[in-house]
């Protein structure tokens, strides 16, 4: 069950499995409705990063939902930054950089400021992946130095 010695008890794992989806959905909601309610890309991104941190701690770094995610997390982070830049650059089609280029609907909905929703989601990707990468770096360090190594790599 514990393939490499880390990970928490079965109770924590089962509960984590239940609430992980809720955490991710909550993070997405906080980010996408950031222009109407408290929250936004930063808060939503950190919420999602928290969810994956929980999964990593509960299941251990090598198994569970964290695994598929953490291999490409650095690329995801860069993708978030590029998405922000891309959404901002599309403003050039209407005039200048970072101009709100999407048509605005009315009322208090997602469509009332779609440009801000896109930017919020880009920041969500950026911050969520970035912070999770930072966490993985520090946790991975644990595992690397605990694992028996042949020879003495590094300084």
């Amino acid at each position: 069950m514990r393939e490499d010695g880390d990970g928490l008890s079965v109770i924590v794992q089962v509960v984590t499995r239940w609430i992980l989806v809720l955490i991710v959905v909550y993070g997405l909601a906080v980010a996408s409705f950031g222009h109407l309610t408290p929250g936004g890309g930063f808060a939503g991104g950190v919420v999602i990063a928290c969810g994956f941190v929980l999964a990593t701690l509960a299941f251990g770094g090598r198994s569970g939902p964290a695994r598929a995610f953490h291999r490409r997390v650095a690329q995801l982070e860069a993708a978030g930054a590029l998405a922000f830049l891309g959404v901002a650059a599309l403003g050039w089609t209407l005039g200048h950089f970072m101009q709100a280029w999407m048509p605005r609907g009315s009322g208090l909905t997602l469509a009332s400021a779609p440009f801000l929703v896109l930017l919020n989601l880009a920041i969500l990707l950026k911050v969520g992946a970035g912070l999770f990468a930072g966490f993985m770096v520090l946790v991975l360090f644990d595992r690397l130095t605990d694992a028996p190594r042949e020879g003495e790599g590094g300084a």
Binding site: G40, F42, V46, V127, G130, L131, V137, L138, F141
Partner: protein
């Protein structure tokens, strides 16, 4: 005014920890406290007594809203500052781990002696 004074005291506590503590991790804690103090001071400067959050609710009168909210500008900048602070703290912690790996201690004075 008392809140300003307490915030500055918090900044002083963090600064003292940053400069006078020997343990690298304690220094990081001191830096985190300094961040708290600066963020708190900025938000406190934008506060207006008796006014609410700068979020327009359905049915609010825009004119009343403009006269009844706290200053949103410091809040927007502090929001960025918090997340940047988190990134910087993570970078610092990675450096702390590297130092510990290299010297086997977190004590800056002992690191000085071990250098070379």
């Amino acid at each position: 005014m008392t809140l300003y004074a307490l915030t500055f005291a918090l900044l002083g506590v963090g600064l003292y920890g940053l400069l006078a503590k020997r343990n690298m991790l304690k220094k990081v804690v001191g830096l985190v406290i300094v961040e708290y103090a600066v963020n708190l001071l900025l938000v406190a400067i934008g506060y207006r007594t008796g006014r609410g959050a700068p979020i327009l609710l359905p049915g609010d009168d825009p004119a009343l809203f403009a006269a009844g909210s706290v200053d949103p500008l410091p809040q927007a900048l502090v929001l960025t500052s918090i997340v940047i602070g988190l990134g910087a703290t993570m970078l610092l912690l990675a450096m702390v781990l590297r130092l510990h790996q290299r010297y086997g201690t977190l004590d800056v004075d002992r690191m000085d002696r071990l250098r070379g």
